[in-house]
Amino acid sequence: MDGLLAIRFDFDTVGDFLFDPIILRAMRETLYIALLAMVLGIGLGIVLAVMRESRNPIISGPAGIYVWFWRATPVILQLLLVYFGLRQLIEEDIFRDNWTRWRAAVITFGLNEAAYMAEIVRGGIQSVESGQMDAAKSLGMTNFQALRRIILPQAFRVIIPPTGNEFIAMLKNTSVAFAIGVVELLNAAKIQAARNFKPMELYTVAAFWYLVLVSVFSLLQAELERALTISERERPETLFSRVLTIIGGRRGI
């Protein structure tokens, strides 16, 4: 009569594991993989986007094929190929010792993300009027200078929001790295659950930390978008700015 749910769901277990070192270490793993992969993805993505915009097919072609390959196959399959596949192909100890599951995961997620980032950055570049490129050139800038000084800074305003979404998606997708034995947040919970037969309690712990991580990054993303808005009038309110308004009685920072 005490409620069936209460009997089957053990809140004490949730409490025990919420700050368990194994869970916290796994959360750090999730964060590191996602952050490093994102850095790789953004860097390579910009290069690929610029390559795809080239009129020279020898430059734009390979970039197109790259994006096609990494977007057309599931990331779990890419992980298996990059980790197990390469280890099978290259039997030298020096390679195998250094090609760890962790590095393979970071690089695979990074290479995969680059394909998506390439499309996002390309969209950003295309959003800048082509007349600006001509204007920059008429001032004597090279293609590269025009890109760096004129086009990309404007493109970033268009690029930032979807990039934040990509990062949040990546943070959650790292869980598929379990295919190659990387233990991150969800799978640390899964492994513990298989030992104490309390899956719901452990998944609740994992869900809590995913919510915390994603919330923190969502707030940061909102701040960044706000900072990149040129006109004060169009600046969106963020949770952070709203809190400041309430505390300080003034708008914005």
Binding site: Y83, F84, R96, R101, F178, I180, G181, N187, I191, R195
Partner: protein, 274 residues
């Protein structure tokens, strides 16, 4: 004197009776006496319940409905010893014990480990003994012979298995702990061993043995198996005559060498009863 028609009936009956006696005698040439007195076997059939989806113990030959496997061969040998035919009924694992209790079949042979919980429900006669196998690269470079040898090494294992638990417990004995790498499925754990990410893989002995056999000489399995537990023929509580008959039959095939032959056919000599 009997009426004529009735006499004819009597004649037919007598012939039929004689024929059936002869037929019975013919098929009972090399029969054991065990059949008589075992109610379950009076129909000439040993009905076996099995979850036929667990190679190499019980499975259907590819693309057919022909049962095959170590348990299947063992059941047929036991039935032959009892002078009856074995017939198999494919039954889901979850409901297999209740199905035995409601007399859907006479015995269970389904790679069933004898446990205390199951023994409260049904009786068992042990027929093989199955434990855990350590799979290592051919030549066993780390010289692994037992659990203690795994300390300090990386071992790939499927999540949530008894083997993962064993490694956890082993870690309390190790100075340098076992690096346990868990995977969703055992084939991925084997792949990790094959590509050098792990030093050993840890799974049920027959599975380990099969993985080694399929590896084309890349892998081998460490013998003897670790922590063997008996698998039992499940028998309804109260079927005492049948239980005795099956106990005797297993002893008989062990004595005759047929038992060893079956295990050898499946390359699982290591799971023989001690």
């Amino acid at each position: 004197m009997l009426p004529r028609s009735l006499g004819r009936y009597f004649l037919v009956f007598a012939v039929l009776a004689l024929a059936s006696v002869l037929a019975f005698a013919a098929c009972g040439d090399d029969e054991e006496e065990a059949v008589s007195g075992v109610p379950e076997l009076e129909d000439g059939v040993l009905n076996v319940g099995s979850d036929i989806a667990y190679a190499p113990f019980e499975f259907y030959q590819e693309g057919t409905e022909i049962e095959d496997g170590l348990d299947i061969d063992m059941a047929r040998a036991i039935a032959e010893e009892l002078g009856v035919e074995a017939e198999f009924l494919n039954t889901g694992w979850d409901g297999i014990i209740p199905a035995l209790q409601t007399e859907d079949f006479d015995v269970i042979m389904s790679a069933m480990t004898i446990t205390d919980e199951r023994s409260e429900e049904i009786d068992f006669v042990a027929y093989i003994s199955v434990g855990t196998g350590i799979v290592v690269p051919a030549g066993n470079p780390d010289n692994i012979g037992e659990l203690d040898d795994l300390c300090g090494l990386t071992v790939a294992v499927q999540v949530g298995t008894i083997q993962e638990q064993m490694l956890d417990e082993q870690n309390e004995e190790c100075d340098q702990s076992v690096n346990i790498v868990t995977f969703d499925t055992n084939p991925l754990a084997v792949e990790d061993l094959r590509t050098g990410g792990a030093d050993a893989n840890f799974s049920d002995f027959p599975v380990a043995s099969e993985d080694a056999a399929q590896s084309g000489g890349e892998l081998e399995v460490v013998e003897p198996q670790i922590a063997p537990e008996p698998y039992g023929v499940g028998i309804r509580k109260g079927s005492t005559e049948l239980k005795d008959a099956i106990t005797d039959a297993i002893q008989a095939i062990r004595d005759s060498g047929e038992y060893d032959q079956i295990l050898a056919n499946w390359e699982l000599e290591a799971v023989a009863l001690p």
